[in-house]
Symmetry: C2
Subunit: 204 residues, 2 copies
DNA sequence: TGCATTTTAAATCGACCGTTATAAAACCAA
DNA sequence: TTGGTTTTATAACGGTCGATTTAAAATGCA
């Protein structure tokens, strides 16, 4: 009935991800965005609505490609090895990032989410999913004896979530292998079941 | 010989910190900034140079007030208690932040530093100082027997740095006490010397 | 082949950006 | 009081922002 699109929506969204990922939301103008996507500003508005909507779609695509794909790849592995492989992959990804783009979700958590309720919910929701993945791994590992029982699965998963976010931030200003590899070593030791470690006294 | 300033430089810089801390660099316009500082834009430029210079001064002031003051307060304490108090204070600070401003240094690490070499160095330098504080605490604690020797002081300090940054990010989208308190518990256990924990095999 | 519809391209909208020019106001040494 | 100097307040600069208007180009259906 009408003139068809000259572009593939998902393909140009991938280009939008690159732009937003590298420069952030505010520093990316509609003109930057349109150029990166190979479109005119009118086409961007026609296809997606406004800048915020493009960012939302781009963030969703990023999360699908980055988190859920990775979780899916590791979910079937033995739980302890899944966690170790997960973090090693994050470290390699962080070190092999010369532009220091970091993690787009973390970037969004700090730049966009605090001033936008919808993005607050989106980011929080993804972090909950990541925490649940960690919890599943720890619970299974505690059942099959490959992960220590000296901390609850819930707490260990929370620690892993914190470490994950910490790595993502730290690597962006200090992408040093000895730092990230050293950082993760005590965390892996924490998972280790070959220990008589007691829960430390909780001093508040 | 001339007309004196009507404002105190440090006092208006504290107001600039508030503004930049809450809204970030890009989202704070010179007009926002001048209004927050109680000055005209001309006075801002006359006193500080340009927007970037104000941000630089504000970040320096924030770091002095937040990090170095805190480190100074804890440096004389018993090392293990210093670390525990440090993190408990960070958690309280993160939970008692209804505007979700987070940590201005972390915000700067993600928004400004990646695209500005000078700020990259500034932020990295502060993180090195924090890491050194952690290292000193862990080393002293390992010497006096209050901190486990199963991990090197360097690695434990790196883990603590990672956890610190993770808390700061996580609290900004999920400021939940059970999450932060639970997250830190295994980390404190990691410091605990009452353990026969072995270093976990490093699987890469 | 037209007609209706959508996507393009280009120009443009008012608003705001960082920054600066201008000149009045406020001070101190003389 | 005057002259020299700096800070103020106001207004404005050119540029870019997000978003839209206009009209030409491109389709599928009648």
């Amino acid at each position: 009935m009408a003139r068809p699109r000259e572009f593939d929506e998902e393909r140009v969204l991938e280009l939008a991800v690159q732009q937003f990922w590298e420069r952030g939301y505010k520093a990316t103008s509609i003109r930057d965005l349109a150029q990166a996507m190979g479109l005119t500003t009118a086409s961007v508005y026609n296809a997606f609505g406004d800048k915020r909507a493009v960012y939302r779609r781009a963030l969703d695509l990023y999360v699908d490609r980055s988190f859920y794909d990775r979780v899916g790849r590791f979910e079937s592995k033995p739980p302890r090895q899944a966690l170790i492989a997960f973090f090693n992959e994050i470290i390699e990804r962080s070190l092999g990032d010369p532009r220091r783009k970091g993690c787009m979700l973390v970037n969004s958590a700090l730049e966009v989410a605090p001033h936008d309720e919808e993005f607050q919910h989106v980011v929080a929701g993804v972090l909950v999913q990541v925490e649940r993945f960690f919890t599943r791994c720890v619970e299974q590992g505690q059942q099959d004896g490959t992960i220590s029982r000296h901390q609850t699965a819930a707490d260990l998963a929370r620690t892993l979530l914190g470490i994950l976010l910490g790595i993502r931030v730290l690597a962006r200003t200090r992408p040093e292998r000895h730092l990230l590899d050293g950082l993760i070593k005590p965390v892996f030791a924490l998972l280790d079941p070959d220990t008589a470690m007691q829960a430390g006294p909780s001093i508040s």
